[in-house]
Chain length 321, copies 2
Amino acid sequence: MDKLYAIGVDMGGTNTVIGLVDRRGNIPVRSAVGTVDYSTGESYVAALGNAINELITQNNFAGKVTGIGMGVPNGNMNDGTVEKAANIPWAKSTVVPLAAMISEKTGLPCKLTNDANAAALGEMTYGAAKGLKDFIVITLGTGLGSGIVAGGQLIVGHDGFAGELGHTRTVRHNGRLCGCGRTGCLETYASATGVARTAREFLELYPERETLLRNITARPITSKNVYEAARSGDAMAVEIFEFTGRILGGALADFIAFSSPKAIILFGGLAHAGNFLLDPLRKAMAKNVLSIYEGKTEITVSRLNDAEAAVLGASALAWEA
Amino acid sequence: MDKLYAIGVDMGGTNTVIGLVDRRGNIPVRSAVGTVDYSTGESYVAALGNAINELITQNNFAGKVTGIGMGVPNGNMNDGTVEKAANIPWAKSTVVPLAAMISEKTGLPCKLTNDANAAALGEMTYGAAKGLKDFIVITLGTGLGSGIVAGGQLIVGHDGFAGELGHTRTVRHNGRLCGCGRTGCLETYASATGVARTAREFLELYPERETLLRNITARPITSKNVYEAARSGDAMAVEIFEFTGRILGGALADFIAFSSPKAIILFGGLAHAGNFLLDPLRKAMAKNVLSIYEGKTEITVSRLNDAEAAVLGASALAWEA
């Protein structure tokens, strides 16, 4: 029988969402289990494995599923483990061989990788990177994640942890303090958190300037506040996105010198800031890129539905498995 | 009959060296033609093709050669062309389909790539990267070149021009003017030229400091002068290498976040500065690398013979062809 479906599992900080995905990226059935309701990897795997098995049998998909792909925080594609996942009690201080455990529980091949790599595979299978062999996906959420595909192959590195472009210091070496303990990391500027941080800095730096951002009473200010102010024509909010776009565009120019991608695909909440972010970003990239790459790399925004993208990305890994 | 040999062609700015290479990296016979003695690609190819054919027939290697690999300035591995090679009259202002022309002339498959990529393949086939699937070769010559291998595959990018790490500005965005027209490129610091430039800057910055470098009458000062002064215990010369190592080490920390290589292999004249360069480089890399990569990436110096490495690297491409 043809394998018509793949299981995509998006392990989030609270819930783990399971979707049965067809080759076109439709998700006819879904299910979920809690991620942090378990104290051991074994009990989490028991619950997740049961949910997957039920999803398959209750919908008469037995024998039609090619395998399971998972997007997992700190997931290591090389060996299928999750380790040092700070927010997950059962994987905080131990290495859990999650892919092998799920595979044993379900009888299906299982592969996993981190969220940004899953996003890159999702774009290649169902999204903006269809048909592309060289591209980079940048996820702009709380932090900045990245999935790099070169020659049609996801770059995972010797240890499975390649692609941490949010922690390069390509533009400001001595810059903002990052959660990783170093300074100047790209994600301290180019992320939802980074935009909010820039807003707070600008408000302090320019106490005399009028801006809608000063009227926001709920603190801390969020990137959404900045976006809404920019849409209302607020000059400072527009400048905050310009500042962000300039830094990200300068960094992308360096990333291009590494893998010469045909496209860089932006994904996640901040990507929806549209031209407030994209115009200065494209300008900075064009200004900073080495001449042999000039005009060759397209900047696009993901076309995948935000709510479905994580499950789709994870399922893309199963087609590869 | 088994294909026991590959032809490696190193196209330099003056001479093109041809070597017949066995699987262990021995070069039993060699030949050469001029690179710039020809006004058209056709006449260069006629001479080079003849030299290759003679090398094979005169030594009774007909039927034993698997193919030809070439290391070519501005060589494009994707389509086998050379274009905009500033120092080569017949390829200065035109795109020459060199690989196809040589293949037609010799009846052997021919692939080409740029020098740094050839160096990376050479290290993988014969050198320090044997058995490695994820590594970066950094060539430290007049400029800084790079060849990146990820998952066992050379990263060439959508256009064949990936891996210009000498033109990233990872450490100093507003720095020295580079030959590419931008500022702060890594190679303006970390290269033989960069070291010489640092020496000139230091001499001007610290006119009161005593240093052997002030006694050198032949100008401009070279990186070799600085190395010799450092070996004689000259404090300023040692500091010049420390400065260079700090910048290169900081940049390597960012490159690791891209492809998480198992090793970074330094090649070329400046790599022989040994611990004058390597100690500060390793220190800066350790200080700047993201914690998940800490202590995982080895810095080594190429073990290939400088005089042979370019031909070996080029021949490695032929085994792949």
